[in-house]
Amino acid sequence: MWRMIYSFRAAMRFGGYKPKPLTPLSASRWIKQFPKQDRKLAVHLLDNIYYFSEKRTQKILVDQNAALMKRLVNSGLTPKKFIYVSVHDAGSSSPVMLNLLRDAAGLERLGCKFVDCRDSMRLNKTMNEVGVGALIYVDDFIGTGNQFCAERDFAAKSFIGTFSEFLVAPSICEEAYYQIGERGIEAFTGHVHYKAERPLHENSTIFAEEEKERLELVCKGVNNKFGLGYQKMATMVVLYRNAPNTVPAVLRGSLNQTPFFGIFPRTTDLPVRKIG
C-alpha cells in the first residue's frame, strides 16, 4: 500500500520528465527492483531528488537573467552589449536552455547577441564588434565544471575587448563553483548543489553508512564503473529534459533499461528503435 502511495507521489512530482514520462506503475516497478529491505531507502532517495520541471527551469533562467541584466544595465551597459553564449555541442542542453531563455525573456528584441562557444571565429568577431560588454554563458547544470571550463578556456584564446563573464544555470554543483570562480566567472543560479545534500555522496550524512553501502552495491550492480555517477558525484539534480551523467546509476538504470529499469533514464540509456 505504501508503495502505491509513493509511486503516485513520484509520478505527480516527476511526471514531466521528457526522455521517459513517469507513471505510477513505472514508479512502482522501479521501487520493486530493490531488495525488500532497501525499498524504503529507494523511496527516501527519491525524496532527495531536486527536480527541475520545464516551468521551474524557465522561471529560474528568466529570474536570474533579469537580476543579472539589472546589474549590467545599472553599470552602464545596454543589452546590445550582452553576448549570450551556448556551450557544448549543438543539440546538447546548453543551446536548448539558451533558446528557452531567449524566447521567454525576449532577448532577441532587446538586441542581445548569441554565439556558440565553439564558433571561435564568430565569438572573436562579435566581441571585436561589441568592444566592451558582458559574456553570458547559459547552461542547465554544471557538475564538475571540467567540461564547461575546458570549453570556455579554449574560447578564451579568441577573446577580444573588455568583457565581464557570467554563467546563468538553474543548478550548479559545489565542485564547479571553485573552478568557475577561479576564472572570475560569476554564477547566477537558482540552486547550488552541495555534497551534503546528496544521500549517496561520501560527505553526506542523510543515510546511515550501512544504508549508503547497501545502495551503493545496488548502484554498482547496475553500472560497475559509474555506479555513483561520473566522478562519484552522486548528484540528485534531475532536469525535465535529461538527467545528468553524475546521478547514481539506480536512477538511470542499465543501458537499454535491462536488466535494471531506471526512473530517470538519460536519452542515451533508452533502447533505440531499429531502423528498417
Binding site: A156, S158, F159, F163, R183
Partner: protein, 347 residues
C-alpha cells in the same frame, strides 16, 4: 596641476590616475586567458618567498569591467598568483591579517590596450595555437592601420618571425582559419599546416594550369582532405615538395616530371606526400654516402693506431680535431632523433 605659462593649458599629469586599494585575492579575477602555466615556476617561487616575507610592495594594476564585482588584472598577474598560493598554504599577512595586494584601480582598458596586454601574456605561453594570436593581430593592424612588422613587433612583443607567420595565416580565407579554431583537437587543423602549405599552394596555383583552373580554395580543400585522410602524415612534408622544386632547377626534364607529380598529388586523393616526392629529393643517396663516410673514417682512424704520440703539439692538434669531429657528430646525432612523422607541433 603644473602649467608651463599662464596662457598655456595645463600639462596633463603623467602619474597613473588610479585609486589605491588593498584587495584580497578573492576580489580579483585572473586574466581571462587563464595564465596558469605562464610563468617560470622557479622565478615564481622566488617571488612567492619574497612576498611571503615582505608582502606585496609594488601595487598591481586592476580595473573593474562593467557589471563585474571582481577586479581584473592589467598588470601584476605573477604577484597575484603568489598571493593566491600563499593563501592556499594558509599564510597570512603581517600580524595575522588577511593577505592583501595593494592595487591601483584604473579605468577599463580600450580594446587595443587590452589586446596588447593579451599579447604580452601570449609571449609567456608555450604551445599556444597561433591562429587566435593572428586574429588578434589582425584587429591591431586594422585599428591602428599599422602593417609594418617592426612596428607591430614593438607594439605586441611578438617576434618578427611570429608576425610573419601570423600574416601568412591571415592570407587564408576565414573558412580555413576556422579549421584551426576547432575546439576538438582531433579534427583541428594545426596553424602550421597553413604556413607549410602556403608555398606549395602558391607554386601549384601559379604553375600548374589545372590547379590554377581549380582555384586556390578548392586546391586548399584538397590538401585539407589529404591531411585528414593521413595522406599528408606531417605538415613538414610540404617542405619536401619545395625542396624537390629547388633541386630540379637545372634539370628541365625532372622539373617537368615533378610538376606532373604535384598535379597528380593535388588531384588524386590517394597519393601520399613521401611516396610522391621522395624520388626527387636525394635523401637516400645522401644517407648512404654518410654511412659509407662513417665506416671509412672509423676504419682509417683504427688503421693509424694512434693511442699515443711523442709530439706534444701534434697531439694537441689531433685532440682538437677529434673534439671538433665529436661535437659535429653529436649535433648531427641529436638532429636525427625521432622519426620522419613527428607529432604535429602546435605553435
Amino acid at each position: 596641476m603644473p602649467t608651463l605659462k599662464p596662457s598655456q593649458p595645463p600639462v596633463p599629469t603623467i602619474i597613473p590616475v588610479g585609486e589605491l586599494r588593498h584587495l584580497t585575492p578573492d576580489e580579483i579575477k585572473p586574466s581571462s586567458n587563464n595564465p596558469r602555466h605562464l610563468f617560470d615556476p622557479d622565478q615564481l617561487l622566488e617571488l612567492k618567498k619574497n612576498i611571503g616575507e615582505h608582502g606585496v610592495l609594488v601595487p598591481i594594476t586592476v580595473y573593474r569591467a562593467k557589471g563585474q564585482t571582481k577586479f581584473s588584472i592589467l598588470d601584476g598577474e605573477r604577484r597575484y598568483r603568489c598571493v593566491v598560493e600563499l593563501k592556499r598554504e594558509g599564510r597570512g599577512g603581517k600580524g595575522g591579517a588577511a593577505l592583501t595586494l595593494p592595487a591601483n584601480v584604473v579605468e577599463p582598458p580600450t580594446k587595443i590596450a587590452g589586446l596588447l596586454y593579451m599579447f604580452s601574456i601570449h609571449n609567456f605561453r608555450e604551445a599556444w595555437e597561433l591562429m587566435p594570436t593572428a586574429l588578434s593581430l589582425k584587429v591591431v593592424m586594422e585599428e591602428l592601420e599599422e602593417h609594418d612588422n617592426r612596428a607591430l613587433s614593438k607594439l605586441t612583443g611578438l617576434s618578427d618571425a611570429q608576425i610573419e607567420r601570423c600574416k601568412k595565416l591571415l592570407t587564408f580565407p576565414e573558412e580555413f582559419q576556422e579549421m584551426s579554431l576547432d575546439p576538438n583537437p582531433t579534427t583541428r587543423i594545426p596553424s602550421n599546416f597553413w604556413i607549410e602549405a602556403l608555398p606549395v599552394l602558391d607554386l601549384a596555383t601559379e604553375q600548374i594550369p589545372t590547379i590554377s583552373k581549380l582555384g586556390r580554395n578548392r586546391a586548399t580543400h584538397k590538401l585539407v582532405d589529404k591531411y585528414r585522410d593521413r595522406k599528408i602524415k606531417s605538415v613538414i612534408h610540404f617542405r619536401r615538395i619545395m625542396e624537390a622544386y629547388e633541386l630540379t632547377e637545372e634539370e628541365p626534364a625532372t622539373r617537368a616530371k615533378l610538376m606532373r607529380t604535384l598535379e597528380e598529388f593535388f588531384l588524386n586523393p590517394k597519393t601520399e606526400t613521401r611516396a610522391s616526392f621522395d624520388e626527387f629529393v636525394i635523401d637516400k643517396k645522401k644517407v648512404q654516402n654518410a654511412l659509407g663516410a662513417c665506416e671509412g673514417f672509423l676504419a682509417q682512424l683504427q688503421r693509424f693506431k694512434l693511442t699515443y704520440t711523442t709530439d706534444d703539439e701534434e697531439r694537441a692538434n689531433l685532440r682538437r680535431a677529434l673534439r671538433e669531429v665529436r661535437a659535429y657528430c653529436k649535433s648531427l646525432e641529436q638532429a636525427l632523433i625521432g622519426s620522419d612523422d613527428p607529432e604535429v607541433p602546435h605553435d
